[in-house]
């Protein structure tokens, strides 16, 4: 277990390293640089060259790369070219916003997915099950940004029940703690609903298949034969085993959730990582692009590592079979 873990962690670190190195070169080899936004006539070619020198953009790619690597190792991601602030503080502000959004959305996503799957396990509720399947697949087929816009249109602009965007009301800093929290949740509702409603069917279908397979097993039959209640069989015997394949899915959902957050943050003006990343890409703000890339790659790789560990811990069979297979 320990040697497996060590190897797995080493591979993960290597993976992140290769990824961000690739992004480093892709971004810099592409036409255009951060000064493109500055009108050249206004400054003249000379001062443009001077600005490039100051930013270290005139050095060779390999030198820029080595410099960047050394600085990153020290935990220094540089200063945003556009905002004149350290990348660390920009990310430090945006990351909690994204985490709040994605974690809340994922909890709702799981809740809906489990609800849908449990209904499908109950064979007496065929019609309800089919209804949920239909609605879920339709929601799954909607463009998330459009679903967000529709919610804003109906629930915010038309009915005025929710704010149309942002994370806090303009006067939030003057509110007391309780009111501040209510205001935050109020702003959180629509983005979270957009993210969770559009995606839960993916997990629900996996869970449904997995649950159906488990319910066919002999030990379920024997549990039923012993006279246990249907509820007890479902929760204590079936659901536990049906969860195994889903653990992997949780790890794999991370990139997907981060991607969804990009969409939702753009539509709702949520001040998170996705918006920071997109704005940085627009402005060719190299240090910020690298910083956000590193954080998202780390999150994703850590997520799949965690899923692997959980899976091995939960299912002893994997340990044996994976040793033979690969």
């Amino acid at each position: 277990m320990i040697s497996w873990l060590a190897r797995r962690v080493a591979v993960s670190i290597l993976l992140v390293f290769v990824l961000i190195s690739a992004v480093f070169f892709i971004v810099r080899l592409a036409p255009g640089d951060p000064l493109d936004q500055v009108v050249e006539q206004e400054f003249g070619t000379d001062s443009m060259d001077q600005m490039r020198r100051q930013l270290g953009l005139d050095e060779s790619l390999s030198r820029q790369y080595v410099k960047w690597l050394v600085a990153s190792f020290r935990g220094d991601f540089g200063t945003s070219l556009r905002q004149q602030r350290s990348v660390g503080s920009i990310i430090g502000e945006a990351l909690p916003a994204t985490l709040l959004l994605t974690v809340t959305a994922y909890l709702l996503h799981l809740l809906l997915a489990f609800g849908a799957a449990l209904v499908s396990a109950d064979r007496s509720r065929r019609t309800l099950d089919q209804g949920i399947q239909g609605v879920g697949l339709t929601l799954y087929s909607l463009p998330a940004f459009w679903l967000g816009l529709m919610l804003i249109m109906l629930l915010s602009r038309k009915l005025g029940w929710f704010p149309a965007g942002g994370m806090h009301a303009p006067d939030a800093r003057f509110l007391d703690r309780g009111a501040w929290l209510v205001d935050l949740l109020h702003h959180l509702a629509l983005p979270v609903a957009t993210l969770a409603l559009g995606s839960f069917m993916g997990t629900a279908r996996h869970l449904r298949t997995s649950l159906a397979e488990v319910l066919d097993q002999d030990y379920i039959l024997s549990a039923r034969a012993r006279g246990l209640s249907a509820r007890r069989v479902l929760f204590n015997h079936a659901l536990r085993n049906a969860l195994l394949p889903v653990i992997t899915l949780v790890g794999l959902s991370l990139p997907f959730l981060l991607g969804g957050a990009v969409v939702v943050e753009v539509v709702f003006g949520w001040p998170g990582m996705g918006r920071v990343a997109i704005e940085a890409i627009w402005a060719r703000d190299y240090p910020v692009i690298m910083g956000t890339t590193l954080i998202s790659a780390l999150t994703v790789v850590a997520g799949s590592l965690l899923a692997d560990i959980l899976y091995r811990w939960a299912d002893p069979r994997v340990r044996l079979s994976s040793q033979e297979a690969r």
């Binding site: 990824l19 339709t138 087929s141 998330a144 459009w146 816009l149 993916g202 991607g259």
Partner: protein, 292 residues
């Protein structure tokens, strides 16, 4: 001289009037209908979708003259929707084709090739998977001038990983089968074994995966166009239409609502078709969905 193929199921499924199968009907109806609309767009909606309308016609609500209303420049929304279907379907199909070709190639090489190649290719696949896809797409698409060709290429190049994994897993199990062992034993070359003996048996998996991916590709294209990174004017695209209506959510609700419904219908059609095909061609599996 070829020993019996294990995949009679596939052949049987395609025999007879398979298109009348109840599981395939809804998906087939929607996708074929939309395909026809895209092909016959100039006939169905004559006139230039980019031509400006009369000044009095700007931002007109749906009426008998303009069934789905007009946009800010007085252009008929229905005409633009009909023409916009071409961009969505083109991007959906081409990018998925690229992804499928790449993924199948990588998967076959990994599943049938030597062990070191398998390890190398699967590590590359994992590296690609370990990245929020939309992020990579945005990064690549925003680097040069936006164009449809770029969108299709980037979506294809970032969408092959799960296909590669599927194909590899299937190829690994097929290589243990007698008919593949026999083909190898006869001294057939590796490409011949891969393409003549293994690939045909992978087709159901690949077809299902492709169909389920078209919807995802269309969603991704619409988001890119929404951000202004996809098709450029005067080309019509549903995502860009939604963007144009974004500032008029209440006064011009038809501008955002209808293009979104068009995207939803298209994607739902392909998802239904994919689900139907999966149940029909590949009854034992419902393991793999599509990636974000």
């Amino acid at each position: 001289m070829t020993p019996t193929r294990p995949n009679d199921h596939f052949a049987r499924a395609l025999k007879g009037r398979w298109w009348l199968d109840a599981r395939l009907r809804p998906g087939l109806a929607v996708t074929l209908g939309l395909g026809l609309v895209a092909i016959m767009a100039p006939l169905l909606a004559p006139g230039d979708p980019a031509a400006l309308g009369a000044a009095a016609d700007r931002l007109a609500a749906p009426s008998s003259g303009h069934l789905l209303g007009t946009d800010l420049l007085g252009r008929d929304v229905l005409t633009r929707l009909v023409h916009g279907s071409r961009v969505s379907l083109l991007v959906g199909w081409v990018s998925v084709l690229v992804a499928i070709l790449l993924g199948t190639g990588v998967g076959l090489a990994a599943g049938l090739g030597p062990r070191w190649l398998d390890r190398l290719l699967m590590n590359v696949t994992d590296a690609f998977l370990a990245f929020p896809r939309i992020f990579l797409i945005l990064l690549l698409v925003s680097l040069t001038t936006p164009s449809l060709l770029l969108v299709m290429t980037v979506l294809g190049l970032t969408g092959w990983m799960s296909v590669a994994r599927l194909v590899r897993a299937e190829a690994l199990s097929l290589r243990e089968r007698d008919f593949v062992a026999a083909a190898r034993g006869l001294g057939l070359s590796a490409p011949r074994v891969a393409f003549i003996h293994v690939l045909p048996n992978l087709l159901p998996t690949v077809i299902v995966a492709a169909t389920l991916r078209v919807g995802g590709a269309i969603l991704a294209e619409s988001f890119l166009s929404f951000l202004g990174l996809g098709a450029q004017e005067p080309m019509v695209s549903w995502g860009a239409m939604i963007q144009q209506g974004r500032d008029y959510l209440l006064e011009g609700w038809w501008l955002t609502t209808f293009p979104g419904l068009a995207i939803a219908l298209t994607v739902l059609g392909y998802n239904l078709l994919g689900e139907g095909l999966r149940e029909k061609l590949d009854p034992r599996s419902s393991r793999e969905g599509r990636d974000g």
